[in-house]
């Protein structure tokens, strides 16, 4: 396939490819600052077992989002009084979330149309 890329080689999640960003942004937007475990927990809660999340995979995603300026992180103390890194959504991240949500809707529509055309 022409558009095979490095990220396809990375450990697979069963989350549709490219939507993890969207899910993380949505989570942080709704829940406020969370550490990695908190985010993973929340995602599993929302999907309630319909989706198997390899929890480690959220860390590269968090780094990517931070690199793009959509989320930011600070070190703080967690519930068990351990040092933990808390992630929060930025203003740019909120904007991006809105754009990506629309994009997602369009993608679904496009692929649906494609499937209908093919059949």
């Amino acid at each position: 396939v022409a558009f095979r890329q490095e990220r396809w080689v990375s450990p697979r999640t069963d989350i549709p490819y490219g939507t993890l960003d969207l899910i993380v942004l949505k989570t942080l937007d709704a829940m406020g600052p969370l550490h990695g475990y908190g985010i993973a927990r929340r995602i599993e809660q929302v999907f309630q077992g319909t989706l198997e999340l390899n929890q480690g995979t959220i860390y590269p995603a968090l780094l990517r989002l931070e690199q793009r300026g959509w989320i930011a992180s600070d070190w703080g103390a967690s519930d068990n009084n351990r040092r933990a890194r808390f992630y929060r959504i930025t203003a740019a991240g909120r904007k991006q979330f809105v754009a990506e949500a629309k994009q997602w809707a369009r993608t679904v529509a496009t692929v649906n149309r494609l499937l209908e055309d093919e059949s």
């Binding site: 022409a2 490095e6 390899n54 300026g69 994009q103």
Partner: protein
């Protein structure tokens, strides 16, 4: 923006990689603990809870690897994947790829070639010279004039060396001359430098063989140095050449060293041999030559002391120079002299020669041509990208980031530019010698082509081309609008393509204008009447020193002239003392009887035979020519003068019949028998109508005035074979003759015409290249527009739109872009035209009609290239067009 931001933080993360890894480990550890707690809370025993937590978190190594990959710059293997993909895509569309590479190659070659020429001319340090930044050539500027080469006598050089010893480690002087090597058919002419002591200290060369005469101690009175080239040619590279005699003309020197390979001297023409100045000067001027004020032919070079700044050295040297005797000025006023230091090669005169300035303009225009080519290929990439917009949109749907897509497009651009770069490099290596001959002094050409600098330049230009042609498509094709999946399945136009088209047309205006300006300037310059008919005239001469004596030289030249006259192709032959426009000669002169004394400068004299005026196409305005009977020893003392002479000495009178005593030995008064029309004294365009009082006497009678001789030959035609034929004819008159210098008379105009001819030729090539590339680009854009809108056009055709409407509708947008481009380009060209003024000949470059004409011409050509592919739109069959998806 966010894509750039990501790239930037990836770049930043190159430092501090360990800290980042530690952070992740800590986060994962924390995550694991919380997970374990969670499982424990669900009631799992300790060990099982820990195992379950590990399973939920996934393979830690994978996570860390993915994290690292995200934090680093994209890895090499993904780059290779992208390159492979780009190669596949380029191969799929081989036609477009090939035309893109060809167009780019044209543009890149133009830039690389001119860039290389400028580098060799102006930037590359002189070959083989040690610490070249300290080796300097001395120039002199008077008041606020631009500096010219310092050409002076030995006393002045000596004064500079002692007066500015604080700044200079060594000061040396030299003069160039040509000398014959060998006799008869093997005779060759060498370019010889007569060097003073310290000359080789200034140059600081590492000899290929032998020991260079350094300092005053090393300067043996007969020490000759030969060039690597001469060593190969004359001695076959034999190391036994050291110590062998070198016979140059009447002098014999001993070879002491061979200069390093690649060193061709520091003058415009490659130097073959170096001989001591003392030997040459003493033979000519006697032992007191060092004091002779008239020995005004020495050029000065120096080596700065370490750490001395140019400005400090210049002020010291200026003071030292002003302390000595300075040249007289014709206006009789005192002028303040400033010594200016320049780089060692004579071609790098501070302020630049006219030729250098033309070369810089050519390089700038070559850059424009490259821009046009890049714009064009950028357009091709855009057009193809837009055709495949659906593919890009799908990739985005599957998570490809914008950065990723941009990288793909840039890699494709880089592959195209790289291929063009390699092709250009090969082309440049092939063309370089020819281009060098056109644009560079011969000595620079002799240094050779291949240098790492050319490779670096090629890489730099390829990278620049990649960015120029790739950046706009990369941004345009990955923009949100294009990638919007809802629209991805439509074909679309892009304003960027029209901008590119307009830009290409705008950029092709200046080269075309420059080509026309230079061509008409050259035409103007060629029309200049110097008063002599020089076409088909050749000049032959032999070195008097090598012939033994002035009398022997005269006889040899006369015999040669007689032999030449026998040739069928020869219409006229004349034996002269001075070649007109090549030099002047003056001697003691005393007019008998009433006359006006014009104040300054004695008139110039030339000893000629009666055929001279005919051979050079001069015409008599009064009186008559002298006869063959006059042109013998002891004949009637007669002279022919020019109009300027008559005007200066006998204003308002008939000069015929007046007489003057010429020279010191001939006491008889020479009677004026004829007056010829004025001719130009020098081949400079600016002084074409400037004549000075001159007179002509029979060469046989006045042979002792001047030992120099030359033969002027007028032939029916002057082709490539003429000069060798003339040389052979003279050679056959004596087997032991020294080297016979033969050249076409019109060569004297070369220095004046060269910059104009250079500009005319190269701007025409570059202008044509620019226009062709721009028009080809326009045809592509229009062709794409027709393909893209086939369906729409089909519908319109079905609804009854006329062919004309369809065709015009297709080209309207492109032609609007062309028109805007033309207006902008023409205005810019007009606005910047005054910079060319000093390079043109008697021409104001701001001729509005020329700009309008060029704009209209380009508009016509652009319309043609747009309409040809657009005709397809008019010929569409509605039924078939509608069937296309």
């Amino acid at each position: 923006m966010s894509a750039l931001r990501e790239l930037w933080s990836r770049v930043l993360s190159m430092v501090g990689a360990t800290r980042r890894d530690d952070t992740l480990t800590e986060e994962l550890q924390h995550h694991l603990e919380l997970l374990t707690q969670e499982y424990r809370a669900k009631g799992l025993p300790d060990a099982e809870a820990r195992a379950a937590a590990r399973q939920s978190l996934g393979n830690e190594w994978h996570t860390q690897e993915a994290y690292r990959r995200q934090s680093r710059l994209p890895s090499i293997d993904s780059l290779i994947t992208d390159v492979r993909f780009a190669v596949r895509r380029l191969r799929r569309d081989l036609g477009t790829t090939l035309s893109a590479v060809i167009l780019l190659t044209l543009g890149v070659t133009a830039s690389l070639l001119t860039g290389d020429v400028l580098d060799r001319l102006l930037l590359r340090p002189p070959a083989a010279v040690g610490t070249p930044e300290r080796a300097k050539r001395l120039y002199v500027a008077f008041d606020h004039d631009s500096p010219g080469a310092l050409v002076t006598n030995y006393a002045t050089v000596d004064g500079l060396a002692t007066g500015a010893a604080g700044a200079f480690e060594s000061v040396a002087c030299y003069m160039t001359q040509s000398a014959g090597l060998g006799r008869g058919r093997d005779a060759r002419q060498l370019s010889v430098v007569a060097y003073s002591t310290s000359y080789f200290d200034v140059l600081s060369l590492k000899p290929a063989l032998g020991t260079l005469p350094l300092g005053s101690a090393g300067a043996a009175p007969d020490a000759a140095v030969i060039s690597y080239g001469l060593w190969q040619r004359a001695f076959g590279g034999d190391s036994g050449a050291i110590g062998k005699p070198l016979r140059l003309g009447a002098n014999v020197f001993t070879i002491r060293a061979v200069t390093p390979k690649g060193f061709a001297g520091i003058d415009d023409d490659p130097t073959d041999a170096w001989v001591p100045l003392a030997a040459i000067a003493e033979a000519r001027l006697g032992p007191t030559w060092r004091m002779a004020p008239s020995y005004f032919m020495l050029r000065v070079v120096s080596r700065l002391r370490p750490g001395i700044q140019d400005t400090a050295a210049e002020s010291l040297a200026s003071t030292a120079y002003r302390a000595g005797t300075q040249p007289d000025f014709s206006d009789g006023k005192k002028h303040t002299a400033w010594i200016v230091l320049g780089e060692l090669p004579a071609a790098r005169q501070p302020g630049g020669t006219r030729e250098i300035r033309v070369a810089m303009w050519i390089a700038a225009v070559a850059g424009l041509v490259m821009l046009i080519a890049c714009g064009n290929v950028g357009n091709l990439l855009l057009a193809r990208g837009l055709r495949h917009a659906a593919e890009l949109a799908l990739k985005t749907s599957f998570g490809a980031t914008r950065l990723r897509l941009m990288r793909e497009i840039l890699i494709e651009a880089a592959l195209l530019a790289g291929a063009a770069g390699v092709a250009s490099l090969l082309l440049v290596l092939w063309l370089s010698t020819a281009a060098g001959k056109l644009l560079l002094p011969p000595a620079v050409v002799a240094e050779g082509v291949l240098s790492p600098r050319l490779l670096i330049l090629a890489c730099g230009i390829s990278i620049l081309a990649t960015l120029l042609l790739g950046v706009v498509p990369a941004f345009r094709l990955t923009s949100v609008r294009i990638l919007n999946p809802a629209h991805a399945f439509q074909n679309r136009a892009s304003w960027a393509m029209d901008v590119f088209t307009g830009l290409q047309v705008a950029l092709s205006v200046p080269p075309v204008i420059a080509a026309l300006l230079f061509a008409s300037s050259l035409w103007h310059a060629k029309q200049v009447n110097f008063g002599l008919q020089t076409t088909n005239v050749s000049v032959l001469s032999m070195n008097a020193d090598e012939l033994g004596s002035a009398v022997k030289s005269h006889d040899a030249h006369r015999r040669a002239a007689e032999r030449l006259a026998l040739l069928y192709e020869v219409q006229g032959v004349s034996l002269v003392q001075t070649v007109p426009m090549r030099g002047v000669y003056a001697t003691m002169f005393q007019i008998a009887g009433p006359h006006t004394e014009p104040g300054r400068s004695i008139p110039y004299v030339n000893g000629v035979d009666p055929s001279y005026f005919n051979v050079m196409g001069m015409h008599f305005v009064a009186g008559h020519n002298f006869t063959n009977a006059d042109n013998v020893k002891g004949g009637n003392p007669v002279m022919v003068i020019n109009e300027a002479f008559a005007k200066a000495y006998w204003p308002g009178q008939n000069p015929l019949g007046h007489c003057a005593v010429v020279g010191t030995t001939n006491k008889a008064c020479a009677v004026v028998v004829g007056v010829v029309a004025d001719t130009s004294m020098w081949p400079w365009l600016e002084f074409a109508h400037h004549s000075e009082p001159s007179y002509f006497v029979p060469v046989e009678q006045y042979g002792d005035l001047n030992p120099q001789r030359a033969i002027l030959v007028r032939t029916t035609t002057l082709s490539e074979t003429t000069l060798p034929m003339l040389r052979r004819q003279v050679q056959s008159s004596g087997p032991s003759l020294p080297y016979i210098d033969v050249w076409s008379f019109d060569d004297v105009f070369q220095p004046s015409l060269r910059p104009l001819r250079l500009g005319a030729q190269l701007f025409v090539v570059l202008g044509a290249l620019g226009v062709v590339i721009a028009c080809a680009g326009l045809a592509t854009v229009t062709g794409y527009a027709v393909t893209r809108r086939t369906r729409e056009l089909g519908i319109r055709a079905a609804l009854g739109a006329s062919t004309r409407d369809l065709v015009f509708g297709t080209v309207a947008q492109s032609l609007a872009a062309v028109a805007i481009g033309l207006v902008v380009g023409t205005i810019c060209a007009y606005g910047s035209s005054h910079w060319l003024k000093t390079l043109l000949f008697e021409m104001d470059p701001a001729i509005p009609i020329l700009y309008v004409a060029v704009a209209l011409l380009l508009l016509g050509m652009a319309s043609l290239s747009a309409f040809v592919p657009a005709r397809r739109a008019g010929q569409l069959n509605p039924v078939e067009a509608l069937r296309q998806e």
